[in-house]
Symmetry: C2
Subunit: 324 residues, 2 copies
Amino acid sequence: LSEDELVAAIAQLVGTGARVKLGIGDDAAAWQPSRSARSVITTDALIEDVHFSRAWMSFRDIGARSMASNLSDIAAMGARPVLATVALGVPPGVSQEALLECYRGMLDVARMQKAEIAGGDLTRSPQLVISITVVGEVRASHLKQRGGAIPGDVLAVTGPLGASRAGLMQARGDVALDSDLAAEALRAFRTPVARCEQGRFLGASRHVHAKMDCSDGLSTDLTRLVRASRVGACVDNVPVAASAAAAAAQLATDPAHFALAGGEDYELLVAVAARAYEHLSTRFAARFGAPLLRVGLVEADDRLLMVNQGAKVPLHPSGWEHFT
Amino acid sequence: LSEDELVAAIAQLVGTGARVKLGIGDDAAAWQPSRSARSVITTDALIEDVHFSRAWMSFRDIGARSMASNLSDIAAMGARPVLATVALGVPPGVSQEALLECYRGMLDVARMQKAEIAGGDLTRSPQLVISITVVGEVRASHLKQRGGAIPGDVLAVTGPLGASRAGLMQARGDVALDSDLAAEALRAFRTPVARCEQGRFLGASRHVHAKMDCSDGLSTDLTRLVRASRVGACVDNVPVAASAAAAAAQLATDPAHFALAGGEDYELLVAVAARAYEHLSTRFAARFGAPLLRVGLVEADDRLLMVNQGAKVPLHPSGWEHFT
């Protein structure tokens, strides 16, 4: 197929939605932004053998994971995703069907959050490159940044961490988990879910002072949150996913390491006013089936510490650094 | 430098502007869209040794060219660019200074069109990958698509074509042009200018029925325009840049081929109501210093033809196919 024919096949797969006035096939896509909202935009490029390997997941999973990673940044802003554009670099030997499977994976995830794929770009590339941009919208008062945490705030995450790293190890054969735990881990690794609804719920609370996604490992992301907020924190609880705990047991390593350094978990990390925390967590549980998970407390002193066997020790960013 | 330190250096280089409320450094960037306008979005990924080579241009030129290529798609929609996001995949051995030079090149071009760089992503990559997304805004009535051409319309471009290909040949040493022509060609190849003002001017005319950018070679882009419009066309004039004509003379090839198949010229291609064409072209010349350049006529019959030595012969898309 020629490029134009392939674009036509993708356009047919993607279809058209309500918000996008002009979709795939012109020089640019067009949409009508909400009159009252702020718009937000995020871009993430995923590169073969840096962020994923075709050996460990299907093309559909690669697409799903790439879209989820971008939607997670939109979730962190408390925004509703509106549309995505997709630039794909495609190596020789990747079939048209594989490419469409990748799009199906992206659509699975985008449609779950009512986002449309509005356009993009196809090009040759030595490696598979997936660069996704997502635009979302949020009421200005609901947009929460990283830099708003204040001393005394409770730090919490929307779910346990480390399952994605356990899934990578299961996929690579580094561990052999029991079937339920293996399924949890592989799902977290291959088809993670962005916490968009949770992000909007938390963004709507005036007691949430700071919010970001926790995709590079808790230690790295927490370092970013406290630096942006010009505060410190003490971590007194590291919520570890059951599959990560089981993987750590098999490897005889510290399960907390999976959560602190694993990354790609796509939960949200928030700083919440202490007096409102219990009530917010209860409302969160009523809405989403599980409470917020406490991680620690924001402190005035700008050090990042962790309670380890009763002693406070420095916590350094040990998670995923994209660039080093 | 760590990723976070490098991001801080980029954020300082980029600065902050008026429209972006939250720029580089959070999970996503935020801006306030215009209340009355449509928003448009375009994404293009440029990949080392597919779209450019470090052997033929500086990092600053690579950045400038990548940004111009995206702004050209915004120009094609008649829109005003607002912001860009940049995802960079950086191979080992590229210095921090080289990376900042690439950003400076992008900023040179973005600032010329009053667009801000609002955010992005940095990652390792085996090849240099530059994926840029640009958001723009346009009044709904000024947004012109590819598919609006009607029989009888005059087809025209905003400037002569082929200089970029001549520049590539000059950079590779395939030709040795005289200094003024060499400078024209290398400028077109390394630091092309997106026709954003021209795009807005033409989009504002109700006599312009279709508009797109002409970046993949006239034969390929014209094929797309007539297909989208469900019409045909006859090309009776191919406007060739002086440097392309000189390069063709050195190679003893047809100069028209540079314009038809060369690509990356970033002029705009329009279909204009015949009765309004002369007047529009005169106004265009008064504003931009040179008239529109006639290419041919839109015809009802869906064939794409070209007048060659007095005979009408079929014109096939022979320009840049990104994917094959």
